[in-house]
């Protein structure tokens, strides 16, 4: 049945967690990676510095693990834009986000207990008010920056389920989750104005700078590719307003070609001797439908597998998502698309390809 692969749901079903083999492997690998990192940091730290205190090693192990994981989280999106083989990492990226928050919570909680509790000032008040020297850069307080980042990570972890995506609406949810970049900036400052003021080995600052440069670079490169793809199609415009988009042979079977018309990305799919065009933007998380493929007769988003009927842009029942459709016709082997979008879910007759001899 369209809308499902085997018995796997592919749209909003509001299960707590739809466990499957990939998620189990993903989470076990994540757990092994995190535990291994923490054990290595604490073990090597204790071995090389027998005078080290365990609480300092724990605070640093969890803090650095969180920051490293944040780099991984922020890298997956652009890498998947540059090479689709990274897409399976994106499928469960929110699990990384929840793990990241837990690591940050342990780091922050332990730090508050260590540095701010058991004194004459409320610990949270101390986090927000102590260590303040606004008159010079190096003296700027770093603890409130970490706390603000932790609050953002909490909001993201708490709303990571599709239940919240649907109820907050995708634009609000997406906007909320874009705050991860604010959190990253806050954490870079938190580290730079905090521990790096005392741990002055040049390699430590160098690693932080390298991580920052990596994140900026892959986003710029991916963004540049996106901009190139967004170049407005300059095809011939017919009298009826249809625009020449591509040739039939440009589209692989059960795949799509993405074009930009009137500022909107349109995915033109070829399947079962037919051509249909829909908006390129998945209703789930704005995934690029045109980079997906037709599975069981449905357009399948490459990010999380949400599915849509190519003729009407609607998810198969009982699901309710739908995307705008576009009228399409053929002139010989030329594919023409009308740039005016139809309301989401509007059925548009596919253009039928002539039988190949």
């Amino acid at each position: 049945m369209a809308g499902q692969l085997g018995e796997r749901t592919v749209s909003h079903a509001y299960q707590a967690v739809g466990w499957n083999r990939q998620k189990r492997v993903y989470d076990l690998t994540l757990l092994a990676g995190v535990v291994g990192y923490l054990a290595l940091f604490v073990g090597v730290g204790a071995m090389l510095s027998p005078r080290a205190t365990v609480e300092t090693l724990i605070i640093r192990a969890f803090g650095t693990a969180a920051l490293l994981l944040l780099h991984v989280v922020l890298s997956i999106g652009p890498l998947a834009r540059l090479d689709r083989r990274f897409l399976p990492l994106l499928y469960n990226r929110r699990h990384l986000g929840v793990a990241l928050f837990v690591l940050g919570l342990v780091h922050g909680g332990f730090s508050i207990l260590q540095f701010h509790a058991l004194g004459v000032v409320n610990p949270l008040l101390s986090v927000l008010t102590s260590n303040g020297s606004w008159s010079e850069l190096a003296g700027l307080p770093f603890q409130p920056l970490g706390l603000a980042a932790l609050a953002i990570l909490f909001l993201m972890a708490a709303t990571s389920h599709d239940f919240w995506l649907a109820n907050l609406t995708p634009p609000v949810w997406k906007g909320l989750h874009m705050l991860v970049y604010v959190a990253y900036g806050l954490l870079v400052l938190h580290v730079g104005l905090g521990v790096l003021q005392a741990e002055t080995h040049a390699l430590l600052a160098g690693l932080l700078a390298l991580g920052f440069a990596w994140i900026v670079a892959i986003h710029l490169i991916a963004g540049r590719r996106e901009r190139a793809a967004d170049r407005e199609l300059q095809g011939a415009v017919a009298e009826d307003g249809f625009v020449e988009a591509c040739r039939v042979g440009d589209i692989a079977e059960k795949r799509a070609r993405i074009v930009c018309l009137s500022g909107e990305r349109i995915a033109i799919f070829r399947y079962d001797g037919k051509i249909s065009a829909v908006s390129n933007v998945c209703q789930h998380q704005n995934g690029p439908l045109g980079e997906g493929r037709i599975i069981d007769g449905c357009i399948t988003c490459p990010w999380h597998g949400f599915q849509y009927d190519p003729a009407d842009g609607a998810s198969p029942p009982p699901f309710t998502e739908s995307v705008p459709t576009f009228r399409v016709r053929l002139d010989g082997d030329r594919v023409l698309v009308h740039p005016h979008p139809q309301r989401p879910g509007t059925r548009v007759d596919p253009a039928a390809l002539q039988e190949e001899s």
Partner: protein, 258 residues
């Protein structure tokens, strides 16, 4: 876009072979990179300070209490017939001084229980709350007077003695400033840490020029490089720096604006 024609969604049972191989290599590379980062970061930490906090170990102590400027326990050196006892700074649990624990016992011989904190010849005891008991004698043996070592100008960092002597590592520097400020606000004796060269340090207990407590006048000057001029007194194994807090000079970038 790169990546070949294979297509896989996480809810499918099996990924295509090429994609599966790519994922395995990617995850292996990520785990290896994480291991390298963990080892590198752990190894690049600067050396930890040498202090010791015998957390969880409670011992019995006996000696003569001095209340001012900060609580001290004068302990006879066992096995020696030396005129000068050891001086153990006393603090309470958490970020609190021990003034309340020894109030009214100045000059009295007492027994108490507590946990040792020590670093490079300086010793402190975290007193178990309510464990201080006078043992009778009004004064056991008067301590020798302080030796005046003259006015000196010293450069260093003001830290709270409890964390610095071993409770926290590092117990100094900007990451620890908030904690040190809370400790000094709470009555922990403030000390000036002065580098004497070749990695050695001396520690000076800070008081005002009359030997009084100045904790609350130091709060904006903690964990930053400072220059302080004052009279140095040595009482036994304890160095005291008597200063006018208004003359402390910051040596960092904020010096001009403070």
């Amino acid at each position: 876009m790169a990546g070949g024609d294979e297509f896989y969604i996480g809810y499918q049972r099996q990924a295509p072979a090429g994609l599966s191989r790519f994922q395995r290599w990617t995850v292996a590379a990520l785990l290896l990179a994480a291991a390298v980062v963990a080892v590198a970061l752990a190894a690049l930490q600067s050396d930890f300070d040498p202090g010791v906090f015998e957390f969880g170990v409670v011992r019995d102590f006996a000696g003569v209490v001095h209340e001012r400027p900060h609580p001290l326990l004068l302990v006879d050196r066992p096995g020696h017939n030396l005129p000068e006892p050891s001086r153990f700074l006393l603090v309470a649990a958490g970020k609190h001084g021990a003034d309340g624990e020894v109030a009214g016992l100045d000059g009295r011989r007492v027994r108490l229980r507590g946990t040792l904190i020590h670093r490079q010849g300086q010793t402190m005891v975290e007193v178990v709350a309510g464990s201080v008991e006078p043992t009778g004698d009004a004064t056991a043996r008067p301590a020798a007077g302080a030796v005046d070592l003259g006015v000196q100008t010293l450069r260093g960092e003001i830290v709270d003695s409890k964390c610095y002597l071993g409770v926290m590592k590092p117990g100094r520097g900007k990451p620890h400033r908030a904690c040190a400020t809370l400790c000094i606000r709470g009555g922990i004796p403030p000390v000036l840490r002065v580098e004497t060269g070749s990695g050695e340090y001396r520690h000076f207990l800070l008081t005002d020029e009359a030997g009084g407590v100045i904790n609350h006048r130091l709060l904006d000057l903690i964990a930053v490089p400072v220059e302080i001029a004052g009279r140095v007194l040595r009482t036994g194994d304890l160095l005291v720096l008597e200063i006018d807090p208004t003359t402390i000079r910051r040596l960092d970038a904020a010096a001009g604006s403070s």
